[in-house]
């Protein structure tokens, strides 16, 4: 096998690994045509085109995902803004219903982008959830304002665990649910074609 053919095969292999999963069938289609090309020049040119397409598809898929993730991280805290006046009520920390209700509502709001991005990129669902969790302003306020006082209370660590679970579990669950919906939708679409 000539050097040109070896390089062309290498490019096709790279294209298959670089392409996003939703373009795998199209890479197989390109591979099918590539295998029928006998002449070396056209085969190398075809492989270079496939690699370029795969790379651009990858960049496009990641660019849309990263933009959506950045948008979610920046915009989501503002969606929880209407809850803020409740936090400043005098009996906020004394009322379990109010305290728990606001925390739960906040957790559900941050879970929304995890659900949406999980549907869009099931392969990034866990990453999405952790980025949203770690950039959540509530995480900082829970640990800087609430946690120190809870450490002084007997069994306070249980409350800390519960608070942390409220921040983590809804996001992970929503991302997982989104990934499940996204995968099921893709499987249904592939089945129908």
């Amino acid at each position: 096998m000539s050097l040109s053919r070896v390089f062309a095969h290498w490019l096709m292999g790279r294209a298959a690994t670089v392409a996003p999963t939703n373009r795998a069938a199209w890479l197989q289609a390109m591979q099918g045509e590539f295998e029928t090309l006998e002449a070396e020049g056209p085969a190398l040119s075809w492989a270079a085109g496939c690699f370029t397409s795969a790379l651009l598809w990858n960049i496009h898929a990641d660019a849309v995902y990263l933009f959506a993730l950045a948008f979610a991280v920046i915009v989501t805290p503002y969606l929880a803004y209407p809850l803020m006046p409740l936090v400043h009520l005098p009996d906020f920390f004394q009322s379990p219903l109010l305290f728990g209700g606001v925390l739960l509502a906040g957790a559900l709001i941050t879970a929304l982008p995890c659900l949406a991005l999980g549907v869009y990129r099931p392969d990034r669902a866990v990453l999405t959830a952790f980025v949203v969790i770690l950039t959540d302003p509530d995480l900082e306020s829970v640990f800087s304002k609430i946690t120190p006082s809870l450490f002084r209370v007997k069994w306070g660590w249980l409350f800390i665990l519960a608070l942390f679970s409220l921040l983590v579990i809804p996001n992970l669950a929503a991302a997982g649910m989104g990934a499940f919906i996204g995968r099921a939708a893709r499987a249904r679409r592939q089945h129908s074609t």
Binding site: R23, A25, W26, Q28, A29, M30, Q31, G32, E33, E35, T36, L37, S45, W46, A48, G49, C50, T52, S53, L56, W57, T193
Partner: protein, 101 residues
């Protein structure tokens, strides 16, 4: 519902290549040869046309053993309608045809 976005001259060329034998399934290499497009330009167009329902595709068993199956393409009714719309003599289409040469 099919979105009526303006088709690029390259996309129109692909649809024209498919319309030349609208009932026949055509390979990617045949379309590339008919349009002069490289694989890096052709396949993103095929993907878009497929997603917009303007073409349909199917896998064919390989002609020689040991080779992967081949993907073939055929124009749909929506594709024919989109091509007819793109060929209407509007100012935008005249400019696009001029750009393609």
């Amino acid at each position: 519902m099919v979105a009526h976005r303006r088709l690029s001259p390259q996309t129109v060329a692909v649809l024209e290549a498919l319309s030349a034998s609208s009932d026949q399934w055509r390979y990617g290499l045949e379309i590339a040869a008919a349009t002069g497009l490289k694989s890096g330009s052709l396949y993103p167009i095929l993907v878009r046309l497929d997603e917009r329902g303007l073409l349909e595709s199917r896998w064919l068993e390989p002609e020689k053993p040991g080779r992967p199956p081949r993907h073939t393409y055929r124009m749909t009714g929506a594709g024919r309608a989109a091509l007819r719309a793109a060929m209407q003599p509007t100012p935008a289409n005249v400019l696009a045809k001029g750009a393609l040469g």
